[in-house]
Every structure is written in C-alpha cells, then in structure tokens.
Symmetry: C2
Subunit: 489 residues, 2 copies
Amino acid sequence: MLSPELEARLGELTDLGAAGALLGWDQQTMMPPGGAEARGNVMATLTTIAHERQSAPELGALLDAAQPDGDVEAAIVRVVRRDHDKARRVPAELAAEMELASSRAQEPWAHARATDDFAHFKPFLEQNLELRRRYVDCFEGAEHPYDTLLDNFEPGLTTARVREVFEQLREGLVPLVAAIAAAKPAPVLRGPFPIAAQQELALEMARAFGFGDGSWRMDLAVHPFAQSLSPQDIRVTARYKDEDLQGLFAVMHEVGHGLYEHQVDPALGRTTLGTGVSLGIHESQSRLWENLVGRSEPFWRHWGPRLRAAFGEAVGDVTDRDLLRAINAVEPGLIRVDADEVTYSLHVILRFELEVSMIEGALAVDDLPAAWNAGMKELLGVDVPDDARGCLQDIHWAFGELGYFPTYAIGNIAAAQMWTALQRDVGTLDEQIAAGEYGAIRDWLREHVHRHGRTVEPAQLLERATGGGLDPAPLLAQLNAKYRALYGI
Amino acid sequence: MLSPELEARLGELTDLGAAGALLGWDQQTMMPPGGAEARGNVMATLTTIAHERQSAPELGALLDAAQPDGDVEAAIVRVVRRDHDKARRVPAELAAEMELASSRAQEPWAHARATDDFAHFKPFLEQNLELRRRYVDCFEGAEHPYDTLLDNFEPGLTTARVREVFEQLREGLVPLVAAIAAAKPAPVLRGPFPIAAQQELALEMARAFGFGDGSWRMDLAVHPFAQSLSPQDIRVTARYKDEDLQGLFAVMHEVGHGLYEHQVDPALGRTTLGTGVSLGIHESQSRLWENLVGRSEPFWRHWGPRLRAAFGEAVGDVTDRDLLRAINAVEPGLIRVDADEVTYSLHVILRFELEVSMIEGALAVDDLPAAWNAGMKELLGVDVPDDARGCLQDIHWAFGELGYFPTYAIGNIAAAQMWTALQRDVGTLDEQIAAGEYGAIRDWLREHVHRHGRTVEPAQLLERATGGGLDPAPLLAQLNAKYRALYGI
C-alpha cells in the first residue's frame, strides 16, 4: 500500500495540474483580453509551485520508502519517480529561463509570421535551441541528444526508431500522394454551411461518440483543443467557418482526445497517472475518431441524411459518393493544420528531420528556411512562396517545444494499428458505425487504452492492444486501400 | 523600497488568490456537475498552499527587514503583517478542520432547508460554532469573542460599536416599516419580462456604469456574484426570472462590486492589497449602484423609455410614478435576499443578534428557531411559518461564516454616507443621472474609495471620504425622505 503522505503529495500535484488546466482553458475560451497580463503571472506561479513540489526531496524520500502492492502501485511509484528525477535534474534557473524564453518568443514569432520576416524570429529560435541543448546536457546516457527531448512527449521512444519508422512511412506516402495528384481531383463542397447548424450537428456527434451527461462541455476557441480538469469534467473546444466543414472534423478530433481522459480509471484520479500516457497515444485517439470513424463510408451512410437536412441545397445535388470524396479530398498544400489524412504525416516528417538537424548542429537556424523549402518540394512537391507559409507557420518552435512534432505522425500510425485490432476484435465494426453506434469502439478503447492512464508505458500499451510495436504498415495499407478506391487509381 | 524577495512573495500570494477566484467562478458558472468532487480537492489544495505561504516564517522575516518608503509601502507592510500574524496564530490543523466542516455542512444544510428539518442541520451548526470558538481562542486581547470573527470581514470594527449602530438603525427603521405597512400598497408590475430583453438591458446598464471594454464579462449563475481575477478581468454574474425585474437590480449590485475591483490602483496589483478593503465597504459599492443610483427617480427618467421599449405592454399603461413606486415597493417579508431597501437591514440586525448570542453561549442552537421567529415578529411583524423560510434560509452558517452578516447593513449605512458626500461634492448629481451619465460618480468613487484598495483602513477610508465615522443617520434620513414621499406618509 502507498503511504497516506505519498498519496497526499500526488493529490496535491494532481490538483495543481487541474488548476493550471483551468487557467489555460479559461484563457482561450472565456478570459477578457484585459486579463492576459495577470494570467501570465498566475500560470507561471502555479508552474513554479508544481515544479517545486515535483522535485521536493520529501517526495523522493517517500518514493524510496514506498512498498507498492501490485502492478498499478508499482507503476505509480515508477512513473512518479521518473517525473521526480526529471524535475530534479533540471536546475530551477534553467527551467525558469526556458519558460521565460518561451513566453518572450511568442510575440516576435507572431510578428515575424505576420510580416514574413524570418530574421525577426531567428534570435528567439536560436535561444530556444541553445536552452534545449543545455536542457539535454542535464541528462546522461541518451544515445542521441534529441532522445531526451522526445522522451518528454513520447516516453521511451528513440530518435533512431522514429527515423526508421518515418523512413518507411515516407517511402509509402510519397508515391501515393503523387498518384493521387495525377488523378481526377475530388469534388469540392461549396457551402455555405451556417455555423449554428454546424454547432448543433457537432454537439449531436459528440454526444453520440459518448460523453456522459454532466461530465463535459463544448465552447468556442480560436485554436480548438481538449482539456481535462478531471475525468468527469472534460472541456472540448471548437471553431467553425461557414465555407467548409473542417470544424466538424475538428470537433470529432477533440472529442477523441476528451474521451481518452474521460475513460481513465477513476482510481488513478489523484495519482498524477490519471491522464494520457503520451502525446502520440493521445493523438491516436483523436485521429481514430476524426479519420477512421469520421471520414469513413459507413459513418456518412448514417450522418449523410442528417447533414443534408442541416445544410439543404449546399449538399443537395451532391451524390453520396461525391460527398465522401469531397470529405476525403487529398491535396498537397503548404499548411500542416489544413492538411488531409494522407499528406499530413509528410509535414510532420519534415519538421522532425529539421529539428534533429538543428539539435545536432548540422543545420544552422540561418539555413532553416532554405532547408524547409527544399523539404516541402521533395516530400510534397509544392513550392513555398514565403516563410510565413513555410517555416514560420507553427507556434511550436516559438514555445521551444522540440520533440513534439513527431507525435502527430505517431498518432496516425498508432490509430491505424488500433483500428486493425478493432476490426479483428469487433466483427461488425462497419455495421455498427453505419447504425450510429459507437459503444463497441468506446469500450474497446477504454479497455485497451484509456483506463490504463499512465500506468502502462506507450510501447507496451500498443503491443498489448494491437499485438505489435509501432509499425506504419497498417496505416499505409489502410490509406492505399481507401484512397486508391476513392480516386480510382 | 520593498525588497524584490518580499514583492515576489506577495505576487505569489496574489496569484494563488486569483487562481482560487477562477476556480470559484468556474464552479458557479461553467463547470459540468461531474466536476464538483475534483473541484473541491483542487480548491482545498490551493487554500492550503496559500495558507502555508501566508504564514511562512520567511515572509515574517522579510516583513521584519522591510524598510517601506511612503504611506503606500507602509500600508503594504502593515496589512501583510496582519494577514501573516492571523495566519500564524491559527494552527494548520484547526484551519483544515474548519474548512472540512464547512464543506461537510453544505449538503446537510441544503437537505434540511429542502425538507424543513432543522434537527438535521443542528449538529453541523454546533460543530461550526465550536470550531469558531476554538478559532477565537487563538487570538488574545479582544473585548468580545465576536470581535475576532467580525475582524475577518470588517477589520477594526467592534461588536460594541455594531451594537450601538444597529440599535440606532433599528429604532429608526421599525417605525418607518410600520408606517409603510399601514399605507396604501405600491403597485406591482405583472410582467412577463422576457429574459433575453432583460439580459440586453442589463448589459447596457453595466456598460453605462463604466467597465472598460475587454476588461470584464457577464455570465449566468444561480446565485449572482462578482469576482475579480485582476482589475482588468472582472467577472459579473446574473440571474433573471421573467416574472419580475429583480435580475436587473442584481446586475447593478454586482456591477457595483465589480467596479470597485476594476478601479483599484494598478500599482497595488501584485501586493495582495489590490482588492476591496472590507465586506462592508464592498457592499456599500453594490448598494450605492443598486439602490441610490438604480432605484432613484432620475435614473428611471433616463431608463424608463428604454424599459418601455423593451417590455411593451407589461409596463405600457403604468405611469412613471407608479413605475417608480413599484420598483421601490416595501413589504416586510420572510426572506432576506428578496427584501427591499428599507426592510433589508432589519433581517441583518436579527442575524447579528443571534450570532452574538450563540457565540456568547447565551443562545443554544436548540433554541435558535424560536429565537429567530420571535425576532422576525418583533423586527418585521411577520410570522415565520417554517424553518426553511426561517433560520435555515441562508447558507452562511453552514459555511461557518459568523461575523459576515453585519457587513450587509454596514454597506447600506456607508453607501448612504457616501451618497451624502457625493451630493455635496458633485453639484449636479441628479441631472447627470437623469442624463444617463455616471462618470462623475465613478470618478468620485475611484478617488475616495476604489483606488486605495486595502491601503487605507475601512474606518479611515469612510472618515476621509465622508467626513465622519460609521453613522446610520444619513441612511435613515434618506429612507425617510424617499419613502415618506413615495408612500404619502
């Protein structure tokens, strides 16, 4: 049994995390703009207190003395010990410097992107890189300096393994994208799609996917996200434009993230392990609902009539097949967040390669724009007209979040692996989706993924759920089957 | 100059307070019901951390070493020292026990009120009283045990002084209420008043009273309140019923609270002194806007046409004079929160007297219902049919908040004193209100009340603003003049 003192400390860390989560959610959904300055202070203070408690020697001593019973308690001690060791290795001054540099880079990044002025952002990116190198130096024994960064988002995964997996993914995707580009383009839904009707439809879908009443809410945010304050208090956010239906898919995506947090075993609630195990596994949940459920033929067999009722003539003379093709249109483009299911991972692979080169020192920040543009041409066949739509498009590097990007593609890969397992374990998957029934999917995900929280390491979780390690083959097979049929290639 | 170390600690305490404020606001406006259990934990953890930091010996040492320059810095050291000393005197175990007992009494209180079963609530009230007596014992030198409780809400005020003031107030109010009760009743506005139109009107009024754009928001809550996350992030809440206009006045009330926090000197922002100085002074601000501005004849000269436009025939054949009489209807009733401007303070006086008797031990909890009912008969001439509408009606005693109630009447008294001073200092007050102009009122309040935050003690603030100490004479004079005219007595 874990001691009450240890449990109290884990409860406190959980509570500090939840308070921080609420501050973040409110900032992006409710806060009047005048509150921004004070909010920055409040969030920094809570982060500092949490870091202080996370790295407290008293916590270390309680972990040393712990006598865990069974697998779950053993996992708690193991994971909390790792969090504690990580927090202790990074001097408070460096942690504060990293936080300050992140916060200071936001405005220059936004300005640089708005004015297409990479030089303006350059010194901030250089400082973030320098701080990440110092961060990496706090740890020993990593095979590659990037491993240390990656481990913060995808525990246990190595740069070498990502390289292999991404190489295989790239080799499969590039020819598929080229073949689609040469085929007859998919039709485009012209809209308009009134936002109120989208909102209503999105709520229906979110409810159907399976949040319990009184345990979630949905609000608007400029950049949609999902946030868990507790498994019974999930905040999903959405954004709609009346010219397309992307907002609906963004809701399915965020509901996927939210359901993961909603279905964690309540017994893990105040242990700091009652949350998603890694960003890649988290992303697998959002992509599974968005792409494998939400962009599938049986899904639209069920929701198509509802869509036609909601938007009338905007989809009036579109056939079911053209609707499905439009929803699954593939087109190599400049912007990652607008990318379709097929090209998305290529955007991610480019960022991974550039990050690794920058951390290794092989790529100077000065040379980043040229490397970016060359990579886009090679991977997606597109010409980048300016840095605003090139290497300045994402906020991650302004935050100094190196090691984050790969998890987006890992999510796509893992989702496809889980889908294959789901198809194996649930015989009538398509029929259920066509009937608007998601209970079997939800239950499978709860059992194999969600309920474990952080108690099972990502690689082990994937192995147990799907019978194999991270493997891009199912994703490539699914994409080839689906898109070769849709595009007649 | 204050040391950076001291400033950092005050900033941290401010931030913890703001995080707690957001958790409270969200709980009452946004949180799905499923979030309640986790929210209780998060709030308790932040309270514990704040108490720990507030009572930290390091803070005491920094205060000892402080060499304040000027009045404001001296006030900071004085007030923070007082907060620190109070926090240190109360053992952490007692503070935790008080918090736990408060939280545990909520549900039984709600159940007792719903089922009119005082016996069900009794043991919880007894425990709260016992804990308050132990709390009082942590402090020395108070003339009366209730002084210690009162001081948490109204620093510097004594039980003896409240007794004198309330005696004078009671002697003035009881005959006025009796005279009104004997007069021809005021007309009643029958409604309905559609809630959407009320909401729109309330927003217009709130904007006219003077929040800066982007520095506040208004949401719905079951029990309206105002919360400041920072002077530039004020959260006002409202509740409307379509059968009456009370929701509009509740908004004016909460906007009054909000404007106080909005107009505190920004330089006090992260000192823990950048907030209202006492509950009585806070309530004076809400009551001033609700009653002295919002229920005045010139106010409705301006807003009457807008009201008629909004609600059409519900106020169509009501004369301006009858509208004003209806808005100012006086009727002795059972429920404090529904009470009018004249009878309200009598409800408060009763609670004060009962609290003092219970703390003294003169009144046993067993005898509370009978004492309540006798007091209501004596003060307001009403018969209390059950405890649900009697001594169980307010949540304060379930929270163990003894010493809080008197501040409601002190607010009424102070508001009247400030109004007299405002009339003296701003020659054309009525004309400005009739023109829908509130700038002069806002500026006067900023200068004399708001900007000082907690740097000037309540008694001194009132003295400087109005030229006198707490004095019920202006309130009695104003109420007599207004209501004798309205009721023709």
